[in-house]
Amino acid sequence: MPKDNPNSGGIGASPKRREDVRFLTGAGNYTDDINVHGQAHVHFLRADVAHATINSIDTSAAEAMPGVVKIFTGADFAEVGGIPCGWGVTDRHGDPQQEPRHPIIADGTIRHVGEIVAAVVANTLEQARDAAEAIDLDLGDKPAVVDMAAALAEGSTKVHEDLTSNLCYDWVFGNDDDTAVQAAFDSAAHVTTLELVNNRLVANPMEPRVAIGEYSRGTDEYTLHTTSQNPHVIRLLMCAFVLGLPEHKVRVVAPDVGGGFGSKIFHYAEEAFCTHAAKACGRAVKWTSTRSEAFISDAHGRDHVSKIELALDADNNFTALRTNTMANMGAYLSTFSTSVPSYLHGTLMAGNYKTPIVQVNVKTVFTNTVPVDAYRGAGRPEATYQLERVIDKAARELGADPIALRRQNFITQFPYETPVALTYDTGDYVATMDKLEQVADVAGFAARRAASEAKGKLRGFGVNCYIEACGIAPSNIVGMLGARAGLYDAATVRVNATGSISVFVGAHSHGQGHETSFPQVVAEMIGIDESMVDIVHGDTGRVPFGMGTYGSRSIAVCGSAMVRATEKIIAKAKKIAAHLMEASDADIELKDGQFTVAGTDKSVAWGDVTLTAYVPHNYPLEELEPGLEETAFYDPANFTYPAGAYACEVEVDPDTGKVSIERFSAADDFGNIINPMIVDGQVHGGLGQGIGQALLENAAYDADGQLLSASFMDYAMPRADDVPFYQVDHSCQTPCTHNPLGVKGCGEAGAIGSPPAVVNAVVDALQSAGQDVTHIDMPLSPARVWAAMNG
């Protein structure tokens, strides 16, 4: 519950983010700030064509250039593994996904613009770039495969000659009885159909990727500094699948990381390259991506083409839902690529609604484009967008109120088992919709529309709901679904002799504010000031283990591990306190950092107990080890299910098609909340990215596989003046039933829940002017809106 005094500390308070002091005053330590004595620099020669055979590659002239240390080509990595895919999806026929080799450096074939063709290590970056220009490359052009439908057509050029086709898998989920599903549609009173595109995006974190590999000949140990959301996962993938190194000889450090949004989850070729090259060159090797490189080498997001059909009975109850999606994988399978359009997308297709029959079909497709993987929301925005757009279209076709139609079909009984394999433990969609109607001032819309019309603008109102599955886990379930990793997390609580605490957490903080919110939890549990608690993250050499940060899982999974470890600490501390006060540990109570014996006035302070743990002069050594440090691994029983309702109000300039967002309201149910201010910030950021997708962002390829929007000159990122002041409310709270904090996660909600509201609002605005426009594909640029209005 929010505390009256925001500075009071503990759970529910809103202390300012302690990490911002260093971020905002230039004292952060980002990967590019790190320079290792004697380091060399690598420049990657990247493909400027989308598809070609490498007939020959002559590096002899380049090797003779000044400052060159070593030049690597695909042949140098023929003996090591390819970049692995972390999720194996089984298709509708029981066959495994088609999984091509993903080489560190292209070996024989170039498959997308931006793929590494050669790597030049030199004393300086400029020397490396000069030498790269002297590499003589003889290419045999091949036709580029860009459009997904064309890629799947009979006779298409194959992206991978050794695969049977460009189809990665053809997957069916939910009700797989085609006849029964068709029967539901045949007997429907009304069927609404919508074809839509979920536009391809580039994550564009503020900090581009960086990798620095080091090798010690003396100890045979490697260190990789990298911009990662999950350093332990990178270590595991790189050691076990790519380079064949023992994990205990490799340390992966991800210090301050300037945003990830998913794009820094994945293991990238540049990380394995720098680690490998450090030994091969006898020098540390550093790479810092340019922004231009980031556009063509960071995994992209989204890129689905879907057809969705919703069946309703005569009373407007949803009776069946069927979707068919083509999802772009790009040229290779990035780490979590195959899970995104399948299990992170299909499982969410029921949404907040009690539709009894849901069938999801997804075909994933190889194309000569940059690999596509998770981007803030990862599959759930694509599901939400389809579902909430088709519901809106159905409401228009039926003349129903879009809010009432949703309310009528809400799930209201929990736990609820969906037709697409999830069990929602708790939620209250009526309450969030009630809250939204209040926050969004639905009643005042008519007056606002009249005011807009008086100045020649069209005004529209759009609403949507969302639900997401967060805290991705439990391991036994995701393992059955094809995950090749466990999805627990870990925390070690180390209490020092003087009572201060370092918590070593497996989650990584790269904008989420963990350094502030995690200590709030531990401080609350013990009753000490949170300034006595720090977290340590982002270093496999310091943190025992962890699965990292993605899927809005940090507080729900790693936070739960931290709670479990702190509980162990408190249990042990109580035994020490009991010994000091000559009482039974069952009688010891801990409050406000004081241990007391129930029913007496005896007490010892937290600091007395911690000192005793490390100076055990008066200590039950025969029963208890000295020291105060505990580790817990936490594997949750279920996903968490944040949900909510969003509303957007737009003005459309009918002369130019320009859309401006006048109001945006969010009513979220995140369960219990640790730091309301940080949650506000997470929602704001997510909304910014969702609005960016809806109105501005588009990674567009031409037919030759060239990225047309390969810089900020053509890729439109949302700026501050593209978004309104938000009305954000998270007072509806149905705590998660299966984790100790009752938390659900908030990092992705904004990005998941906002695009359909924006598009619904624009369609509403155009319809208010009598325009027969039922859909516009994102981004709703002025040109696209104008074109829709002018047929």
């Binding site: 231009s292 929007s709 900020f712 000159m713 053509d714 439109a716 002025p782 040109a783 104008w786």
Partner: protein, 259 residues
């Protein structure tokens, strides 16, 4: 970027001499050239910085004529030029760009989406160089093409201050350059309309609109006028038809802002 020599002349004459060398290139504020160099898309042997040339600075207004030094920054123009041009300059880029970029550099580059060309066509401008004066109407010769000779430096521009003027810009969503920009200037002897961002041939004067507005200066005077979409640019951000349409809308809005 590749290695290059760097010179910082103090006078126009020194700069001209320095630019006589083959592959030497003038550097204004560097807002286009420096990113180009960083991407290794240009390889000049020598950069001649015009930033230290005092005689190319300054903005002044006298006897109905606006005079701007070729080395004046967009921020200088925004602060000191006549209001319509000042407003245009204030809408270029961001503060960092405006404090470095110069009007001379922008005009010499003649980016088809730059703002200044529309104004120079509308404001009866004269482009002054180290060796001659060029009428604004003769200066812009297509995409990134101008009447400048090799090594010729824009030392300043002169514009006739109009009775009234307005620049209406529609931003390209990503770059916020002009997807279409229209500068309308009203003089006693007629109206001039300069258009940027739209045409495949670069900035141009919309003569039909000028004639209509000279006869009747009101948005309604433009009713029924349209541009040939065939000669417009079409790309990711707007089709040819959309650009042609936007020129008409922006022109009407500029006229409405004045009248």
């Amino acid at each position: 970027m590749y290695e290059f020599e760097f010179e910082t002349p103090a006078t126009v004459a020194e700069a001209v001499a320095a630019l006589a060398e083959e592959e030497a290139q003038a550097l204004g504020g560097g807002q286009t050239l420096i990113p180009t160099l960083k991407q290794r898309l240009a390889m000049p042997s020598k950069l001649v910085s015009l930033a230290g040339i005092a005689e190319m600075k300054g903005v002044s207004i006298a006897d109905g004529v606006l005079t701007i030094g070729g080395g004046a920054t967009h921020a200088d123009v925004a602060a000191e030029a006549c209001p319509p041009l000042a407003a245009l300059a204030a809408g270029i880029g961001d503060p960092a760009v405006r404090n470095r970029g110069t009007i001379g550099g922008s005009l010499a580059n003649n980016d088809p989406a730059a703002d200044y060309p529309a104004a120079m066509l509308a404001l009866k401008s004269t482009i002054v160089t180290d060796r001659r004066e060029i009428a604004g109407d003769d200066f812009f010769q297509g995409l990134f093409e101008t009447a400048l000779d090799e090594g010729e430096i824009i030392t300043g521009v002169r514009c006739d201050i109009p009775e009234a003027a307005h620049y209406q810009k529609f931003d390209q969503p990503a770059s916020r350059f002009a997807l279409v920009g229209v500068f309308v200037a009203k003089y006693a002897d007629g109206v001039r309309v300069g258009v940027t961002g739209a045409s495949e041939e670069g900035a141009f004067r919309w003569r039909e609109a000028e004639a209509a507005l000279s006869a009747s200066f009101a948005p309604d005077a433009l009713e029924g006028l349209s541009l040939d979409a065939g000669s417009m640019m079409g790309d990711l951000h707007g089709s040819k038809d959309y650009r042609a349409h936007l020129v008409a809308v922006m022109t009407k809005r500029a006229v409405a802002a004045i009248s």
